[in-house]
């Protein structure tokens, strides 16, 4: 035993004499940090790095089997899922790892922002971090394309449609993105190269720089209200703090990082095991148009924005806002590089984080059951509830058939059942008079297409007769002037 130990030490010395790494590595591990920073709030960066390692390992393992061509990619994913021992689990780890990565990176960024860690002298660490965030989203998007299924196919189309809106060079950018004029083999191989070589290469280099600067400049101290950052004095104050009240990163702070990283990896494994791999959905066959393409969770908010932005402002917002947001993020440490770090003294910063988080969260949640898309099968799948048919005349019932057959149901629900694009019609007769209903149906308006050319006069009469019965238990909308001018309307009024 003693001999073995001595042999081990001898090998260590032999290696270190040649590598010379032990000294710098130990020095880096034991670098002093402010005692207050040995906290659970400081674990997200290292967790992101550990997830990155896992993504690299699982990614390489998937690449052993994955075939990056438009023809074979989908089949190779299915082979991974079903034909290979634990292939599904590796795919699940990589897919869930991606979602966790984005979550952790966003939390890390929020924490850094709230703790004022981007201020002097850590400006460049923040800027490199902004690029790391962009590359993380880049990895998520290219990865979603490599899961070459229906959603991926139409998702690239959406990416191309956004690119096409760039003035003058739109079509060139589309061709550059697709690797040709149309989505095909060159598109998939292009995204493979981006996902596997280009972005990870730059990403790793930037992670190296990021960590190097964290070690070189020291970890941010716990912010205190009233303790201002000044370029002239900060470095001395920080040095003084880690000398008087510093602790070595390992073991004093490192243990929280290690435990959190282990918990995160365990969480990813649990999600992978319980929920399984993400997709692939249907085959990437553009001729199968019975599909409702949706992006992955990290991009759902964009999907919502594309539906909710006013059409006239869509292109300027899509092209200008991202550039402005990225520029503001990059410029942040230059216009707010000094001063207060503590969140309690930075109400604008707190408000910004809250507004952004609530906006993105709301858009994402709304996108899970999007109210802006017509429900393509509602007209044949969702029946008219019996209570809307009981005691109705034959004409009104015929109207209910027209209502179904003309796909009104795809956009209009009846008492919650059906599309959500337009208003629920269960009580439409309390809002619109008979004449207004006819006008709305034939001419459309608001966001409704005109049905004038799709309905015969008889169908219109029946449809409006049916819609006019939909008043719940309320008094129906009536044009008061009709009472005076229209005897039939006056009689009908008496019935209620």
């Amino acid at each position: 035993m003693q001999g073995l130990k001595q042999k081990g030490i001898a090998i260590y010395h032999w290696l270190d004499r040649r590598l010379g790494l032990a000294g710098p590595v130990i020095e880096a591990a034991e670098h002093p940090i402010p005692k207050s920073s040995a906290s659970w709030w400081y674990v997200f960066g290292s967790a992101a790095t550990v997830i990155l390692m896992m993504q690299i390992v699982t990614g390489v393992l998937l690449a052993l089997v994955y075939t990056p061509t438009a023809r074979d990619a989908w089949n190779s994913l299915n082979f991974l899922n079903h034909g290979l021992t634990l292939g599904w689990f590796l795919r699940a780890l990589h897919g869930w790892g991606s979602d966790f990565m984005i979550t952790i990176v966003l939390i890390h960024m929020t924490q850094v922002f709230m703790f004022g860690a981007y201020k002097f002298p850590r400006e460049l660490t923040w800027i490199v971090g902004v690029f790391l965030l962009l590359m993380t989203f880049g990895m998520a998007f290219t990865g979603q394309v490599l899961r070459f299924d229906q959603d991926a196919y139409w998702g690239i189309g959406i990416g191309a449609s956004i690119m096409a809106r760039v003035p003058f060079v739109g079509s060139k950018l589309v061709h550059l993105l697709l690797g040709g004029p149309i989505i095909g083999a060159t598109t998939v191989s292009r995204f493979f190269a981006l996902h596997v070589f280009v972005i990870p290469g730059i990403l790793l280099a930037f992670v190296g720089l990021h960590v190097w600067m964290v070690l070189r400049l020291g970890i941010n101290e716990w912010p205190m209200p009233g303790r201002l950052v000044r370029r002239s004095t900060y470095v001395q104050e920080y040095e003084a703090e880690i000398h008087t009240d510093g602790v070595p990163f390992i073991p004093d702070a490192g243990w929280t990082d290690a435990i959190f990283a282990a918990a995160i990896i365990l969480a990813i494994m649990t999600c992978a095991a319980v929920f399984g791999p993400i997709g692939p959905t249907g085959a990437p066959d553009p001729t199968i148009i019975q599909t409702v393409p949706k992006p992955d969770v990290p991009f759902l908010w964009i999907y919502a924005l594309l539906a909710l932005l006013p059409p006239k402002l869509e292109t300027p917002i899509l092209l200008i806002v991202p550039v402005v947001v990225i520029c503001v993020m990059l410029a942040l440490p230059f216009f707010a590089g000094e001063g207060e770090k503590h969140w309690s003294r930075r109400p604008v910063a707190v408000l910004m984080v809250l507004v952004i988080a609530v906006s993105l969260g709301t858009l994402t949640v709304v996108s899970l059951h999007p109210p802006w898309s017509p429900e393509m099968t509602a007209w044949s799948a969702d029946p008219v509830q019996p209570r809307f048919l009981r005691g109705r005349t034959p004409l009104e019932r015929q109207g209910a058939i027209v209502f179904q057959e003309k796909q009104c149901r795809n956009c209009h629900a009846l008492a919650g059942l059906g599309g959500k694009r337009g208003p629920d019609l269960a009580s439409v007769a309390t809002r619109l008079t008979e004449d207004e209903l006819v006008r709305q149906v034939l001419q459309g308006g608001g966001n409704m297409p005109a049905y004038g050319s799709a309905l015969s006069p008889a169908q219109t009469t029946a449809l409006v007769a049916f819609l006019d019965t939909l008043n719940g238990n309320e008094r129906p909308a009536r044009d008061p002037s009709l009472e005076l001018t229209h005897s039939k309307a006056a009689q009908k009024q008496q019935k209620f």
């Binding site: 061509t69 438009a70 023809r71 074979d72 196919y153 139409w154 189309g157 959406i158 191309a160 449609s161 956004i162 690119m163 096409a164 809106r165 760039v166 739109g170 079509s171 950018l173 589309v174 061709h175 550059l176 697709l178 690797g179 040709g180 004029p181 149309i182 989505i183 095909g184 083999a185 990437p284 066959d285 553009p286 001729t287 148009i289 019975q290 599909t291 409702v292 393409p293 594309l306 539906a307 932005l309 292109t315 802006w372 898309s373 017509p374 393509m376 057959e405 003309k406 796909q407 795809n410 956009c411 001419q443 459309g444 308006g445 966001n447 297409p449 005109a450 004038g452 050319s453 799709a454």
Partner: protein
């Protein structure tokens, strides 16, 4: 203090040679960048219209008058590695006699596949709620224009279309939107 640039070491033969070597590398690098950029930007330099070819879409009797049918064509620029993505759909509306409209499957908003509903004579998009009339004019939702149309011609008993590019606002912006309906909302 002596200006460092005037020190003899700054003007030695080796310093000079090193500078020459740097310049030589810069020059070689620039020359090397030309083919690399040319390769990467290859798809950009080709004119968009040069991707387009006349492609047979089917026999005329496949498209009954007064109806709108789904048709398929092969990407003329495709390769076997494209697999299923080589076959692309489009909507063919036979108005009357030799009058047709061939609509791209891609919504003018974000390129999702539009569905035709013959009963309500509408195209609906499943993504963000774009709706078009039977002549392709925009009816509702976020699309900034009507459906993209392919040029068509009749060759004997076949319908041909000019296709080969993903229809987007950039590639089809020059082609006017189909006549807007007077009933447009």
């Amino acid at each position: 203090m002596e200006n460092p640039t005037t020190q003899p070491s700054q003007h030695s033969r080796r310093t000079f040679l090193f500078k020459i070597a740097l310049m030589a590398n810069g020059a070689v690098g620039t020359v090397l960048a030309v083919p690399i950029l040319g390769y990467i930007l290859g798809p950009v330099f080709k004119r968009g219209r040069s991707y387009e070819y006349w492609i047979p879409l089917g026999f005329l009797n496949q498209f009954p008058e007064g109806e709108t049918r789904l048709a398929h064509f092969h990407n003329p620029d495709g390769s076997p590695a494209d697999g299923q993505t080589r076959t692309l759909p489009c909507w063919v509306r036979h108005i009357k006699k030799n009058q047709f409209q061939v609509f791209a499957i891609n919504c003018a908003h974000m390129g999702c596949p539009v569905h035709w509903f013959p009963q309500s004579k509408l195209f609906m998009c499943p993504c963000h709620g774009g709706v078009y009339y039977q002549d392709g004019a925009r009816a509702a939702g976020p699309p900034p224009r009507g459906l993209f149309e392919y040029e068509y011609k009749i060759a004997g008993d076949r319908l041909m279309i000019r296709a080969g590019q993903l229809p987007t606002l950039a590639t089809h912006a020059s082609i006017a939107a189909p006549g807007s309906s007077p009933c447009k909302g």
